[in-house]
Each structure stands twice: as structure tokens, then as C-alpha cells.
């Protein structure tokens, strides 16, 4: 009887697992097989023509790269600052708890609200119109928790002996930070950044009011009124405005490129992340 219950349970949970993996594989398969026909060298190097029916996605790629690079530049100092505060200066104080709460709160904010905030601050108050910089800053804020938490986990898992040795050699705190802690925790920062960028690359809501347009932008010039094209917004517009067969393939191709970018960034981060993860949970 009990054995029977055991088998049923295994079967049920196994079925769940099968369902999950099946659904997820189906999705990836759909994107892959529908998008593959569109992928070619030209796809990457040409720009959009005929409202998406011809040409490639060159400037969309460029735009997305600009946005995530900016996000990285904006996010890194703040992540480092908060990381040092929690991991070094405020290590055993209540500050760490407070900032973890802050980071989790920020992480939970829906992405559309970043877009609305950008509309208020950058478009309305600053009068920038649509600007790549607004998009970069908003995306940077959005990925801050991901980057920072990865960094903090890394800092906190640094073996004490490195720091004690450094202190023993007479280094003061600042020196210890820059010569020991930061270099050693760099891979945590990189891992977090890669994961954050993977997320930022795919986000539409923060940038659709503030930074991106559908066609016509190439490289931005200046800050005001300088939007960029982007991959996710391209898909978003075409999903609503065009189902012509000629566009469909390109649309899937764009989706495949986006998913590919995300997967690639996550894959690079994966070995490091698994290691940090295991160290944190099973020291």
C-alpha cells in the first residue's frame, strides 16, 4: 500500500517534470525552426526594409547593444557601491538586511513601471523626448538587483584567510578592497552582469515609451531626441501590426536572434553561477 503510494507520487511528479520540459522544449523548438529560415549573414548586416518585410535587423541589434552597454555602465558603480556596503563596511550590521530588502523590492517592480517613470522623468521633466540614454539608465536600474546580489554573494563567500592575510600585511581597508576583494569577486560581478544584460536585452516595457522607435533610427546623435531601434520592440510592433507571410519569417528570425542572445549570455555565466550557487548553499 505504502509502496503503491510511493510509486504514484513518483509518477505524478514525473509527469509534472515531463510536462514542464515538454512545454519548454516545444517553445524553443517553435522559435528555432520557424526562425532558422530567416537567419543569414544578410539578416544581421542589413537594415529593415518595407516595414519589416525585407532586409535585416542590423540597426535593431546595434540599438539593443547600445542600450545594454549603457545599462551596464550605469549599473556597475552602483552595484559595486552597494556590494561593498553590504559585504564589507556594513557586513555585520543591519545595513545589509536593509539593502537586501531594497534590492528585492527593486527586483519585484514591474518593468512597465520603469517605463512610466522614464516617461515622467526623462520625457516630461528633462524634455529629452525619446533617448537611448533614458533607456540605458532605466534598464540599468532594472538589472541592478541581479548584478548586486550576485556580487554580494561572491564577496561574502571569499575565504577569510585572504583578508586576514592582507590585514596582517598592514593594508588598510581601502587597499584590501581594491587589491583583494574586488579582483577576487570580479567573476561574481561579471556573472551578475551577464545575467542582468540577458534580461535587459529582452525587455520591451521600459524602453517602448522612452528610448526606442520602430524604424528610421541608426546611430544616436547626442542625448535629446535620439532614439534607437531595438530587437524586442521590433517584435512587439510586428506582432500587432503585421502577419503577412513575408514578414512572418523575419519576425521569427528576430525572435530567434533575441533568444539566442539571451541563451548565449546566460550560458557564459552558467559555470560561474553554478559554482557560486553551490558554494553559497553547500559550503
Amino acid at each position: 500500500m505504502r509502496k503503491w503510494k510511493n510509486n504514484v507520487f513518483v509518477a505524478v511528479t514525473g509527469a509534472c517534470a515531463l510536462l514542464s520540459c515538454g512545454v519548454l522544449l516545444l517553445i524553443v523548438g517553435a522559435i528555432f525552426f520557424r526562425g532558422l529560415p530567416a537567419i543569414s549573414w544578410n539578416f544581421f548586416t542589413e537594415q529593415i526594409r518595407l516595414v519589416g518585410a525585407a532586409g535585416g535587423i542590423f540597426y535593431n541589434l546595434v540599438g539593443t547593444l547600445i542600450l545594454i552597454s549603457t545599462a551596464l555602465v550605469v549599473c556597475t558603480p552602483v552595484a559595486l557601491g552597494v556590494g561593498l556596503l553590504c559585504g564589507v563596511y556594513g557586513r555585520h550590521s543591519r545595513w545589509r538586511e536593509r539593502f537586501m530588502v531594497l534590492l528585492h523590492l527593486l527586483n519585484g517592480v514591474p518593468s512597465i513601471l520603469f517605463g512610466i517613470l522614464g516617461l515622467i522623468v526623462f520625457v516630461k521633466f528633462f524634455g529629452w523626448g525619446k533617448s537611448w540614454l533614458s533607456g540605458g539608465i532605466l534598464l540599468g536600474a532594472m538589472i541592478l538587483p541581479t548584478v548586486t546580489i550576485a556580487l554580494i554573494e561572491r564577496i561574502e563567500s571569499l575565504p577569510a584567510k585572504y583578508l586576514e592575510a592582507a590585514a596582517g600585511l598592514g593594508l588598510n581597508t581601502s587597499q584590501i578592497i581594491w587589491s583583494v576583494i574586488v579582483p577576487q569577486s570580479l567573476n561574481g560581478l561579471i556573472t551578475g552582469s551577464l545575467l542582468g544584460l540577458a534580461r535587459a536585452a529582452g525587455e520591451t516595457a521600459p524602453i517602448m515609451f522612452t528610448a526606442t522607435i520602430f524604424a528610421g533610427a541608426t546611430l544616436p546623435h547626442g542625448i535629446k531626441e535620439s532614439p534607437v531601434l531595438s530587437l524586442p520592440y521590433h517584435i512587439f510592433v510586428l506582432a500587432q501590426d503585421s502577419f503577412d507571410p513575408s514578414v512572418g519569417e523575419k519576425l521569427w528570425g528576430t525572435a530567434l536572434v533575441m533568444v539566442g542572445m539571451v541563451v548565449l549570455l546566460s550560458l557564459i555565466a552558467l559555470p560561474m553561477r553554478l559554482r557560486i550557487h553551490e558554494e553559497a548553499y553547500h559550503p
Binding site: L50, H221, S242
Partner: protein, 283 residues
């Protein structure tokens, strides 16, 4: 990875960009209906005359008007006349409507409605359907099926032409709560894939394969189809002009663009996308 190594050069060139961009950017925004020929015209001018043109379709016709009024673009695209309210909102702007072609708004239905024999509706019937008094197709001569009305987003030129015909003034349109669709393709796709569906759609998009345009019955009971003839003579009531809007006379790049669209090649584009060119209109 190729893309990542492009990032630094791209960033640098972004920063240096102001040094080499010479001519001013021509910005165009507005109706998705007008966008089709305009986007293609922009592509041609970009390729041939190296003009820097940005085209976007934020907010439809209303978005085009407000973008022009707010000084964010040099040319607005609208598929409806400017109303007094529009002009009153921007008293300092002298809007100029440049007629580039003509289109009609049709009520398109799904295959099952069309094949039941329903081919035309009167204004009263449409009003009853829109306001929810008539909920089943059989009440107006169609199959026994709930009416799925996909309402165009208010603010879209297509919607305004529709309510203008029904009520004479968009302001007099009653408040209704119907499922909404945005762009023309979303409208077509949803009608095509849903039984008993109807929506407002630019008549050139009614392909007669997946969605079908109904005729409108006049006061005398004559069913007027949205044919080229009927639209050109304004016999079909829901015809609408396609406009490029400028603030005062078009200058510089804007003038080049407007002249192009009014030229033979530009008008050929208008026809190519299913609309009526100016020469086809009989006043």
C-alpha cells in the same frame, strides 16, 4: 563573440557621431494606415538621397497630430481630418493638411458571417451593434452567433472615421466597453481567427480571403460597396483622406519628402498599398 567586440567601437562612434551627422533628421509620426506608403517612400529617399528620416507610428493619427503639435516631429501622418479640438489644443501651430491619397474604412467580418449571406448593414444596425443592443448576428440577417466586435482603439484614425459616420462627431460617440485592437493587422488577424467577428478596418486590407468587407446600406436601401469607384466619388460614406501634416509650409527636408510623395513615384506607392491615388479621385 563578434557582437560583443563591436560594442566598444560602436560606443565610441556613438560619442563621435555628432561630429559627422550633417543634415537634420526628418521625423515623421502618426497613422499606421498612412505609414505604409510613407515608410517605403522614406526608404527610397534614404537610399537615393541619403536623407536621414525617422518614421514611427506611436498613437496612430492622434499621436501624429500631437507629435507635430508638440514639435517632436516635422511631419505628422493622419488618416482623418483635423478637428477643431485638435487645432484648439495647439493654437500656435498652423496645421497644414497635405492630401496624398484616399482610403476607406470598411466593416470587415469573418468568413462564417460572410458565407451565411450577410453582405450589408444599415447605419442603424451598426449603431445597435456598436452600442450592444444587438448581440447576435441572427438579429441582422446573419448566422446564429454572438457578435464579437473588435473595436479599434480610440485615437486611431480608423476609429474616428467610423464614429464620425455613425454619430457625426467623435465626441458624441457613446462610451462602450468592447475588446480592443490596435494596428490594422491585429484587427485583421483577430477577425479572421474568430467566428462571428467584425471590426473596423482600412478597406484595402480586406483581402476577401480571410476577412470580408461589408457594404453599407444607404437611406434608400442601396448597398454601397467599398469599391474604388464608390470611394473616389465619395458615394461610400466611410471614405477618408490620407494626410501628411506640417506646421506651416513644408521646408527643407520636409518639403523634399512631401514633394516626393506627391510625385508620380510617390503616388505609385500609395496605389501599391491598396489606397487611391489623388488622380483617381473625382471631386
Amino acid at each position: 563573440m563578434m557582437l560583443r567586440s563591436l560594442r566598444l567601437p560602436l560606443l565610441v562612434s556613438t560619442l563621435l557621431a555628432p561630429l559627422w551627422t550633417g543634415a537634420a533628421t526628418l521625423k515623421i509620426n502618426g497613422s499606421t494606415t498612412v505609414n505604409l506608403p510613407v515608410a517605403e517612400a522614406a526608404e527610397m529617399l534614404r537610399a537615393e538621397q541619403k536623407m536621414d528620416i525617422q518614421v514611427d507610428t506611436q498613437g496612430g493619427s492622434s499621436g501624429g497630430i500631437s507629435a507635430l503639435g508638440d514639435g517632436l516631429v516635422q511631419i505628422g501622418m493622419a488618416s482623418k481630418h483635423l478637428s477643431d479640438a485638435d487645432r484648439a489644443k495647439y493654437p500656435k501651430v498652423s496645421f497644414k493638411e497635405i492630401h496624398i491619397g484616399e482610403d476607406a474604412v470598411a466593416l470587415v467580418v469573418s468568413r462564417d458571417v460572410w458565407e451565411s449571406g450577410l453582405r450589408a448593414l444599415t447605419k442603424e444596425q451598426v449603431r445597435d451593434i456598436y452600442e450592444g443592443r444587438v448581440k447576435n448576428w441572427k438579429q441582422v440577417g446573419g448566422p446564429d452567433r454572438r457578435i464579437a466586435f473588435f473595436n479599434k482603439e480610440p485615437g486611431r484614425g480608423t476609429w474616428e472615421v467610423f464614429v464620425h459616420w455613425l454619430y457625426g462627431d467623435p465626441k458624441k460617440a457613446p462610451q462602450v466597453s468592447l475588446p480592443e485592437v490596435g494596428g490594422n493587422e491585429e484587427s485583421r488577424n483577430k477577425v479572421a481567427s474568430t467566428k462571428g467577428a467584425v471590426s473596423q478596418l482600412s478597406s484595402s486590407w480586406a483581402n476577401g480571403k480571410t476577412v470580408f468587407a461589408l457594404a453599407l446600406k444607404s437611406e434608400a436601401g442601396e448597398a454601397i460597396e467599398p469599391t474604388t469607384e464608390n470611394i473616389a466619388t465619395h458615394k461610400y460614406p466611410m471614405s477618408r483622406p490620407l494626410f501628411l501634416l506640417t506646421n506651416g509650409e513644408a521646408r527643407d527636408e520636409a518639403k523634399v519628402f512631401v514633394d516626393f510623395v506627391l510625385s508620380e513615384r510617390g503616388q505609385a506607392l500609395v496605389k501599391k498599398h491598396g489606397y487611391l491615388a489623388l488622380e483617381q479621385l473625382k471631386k
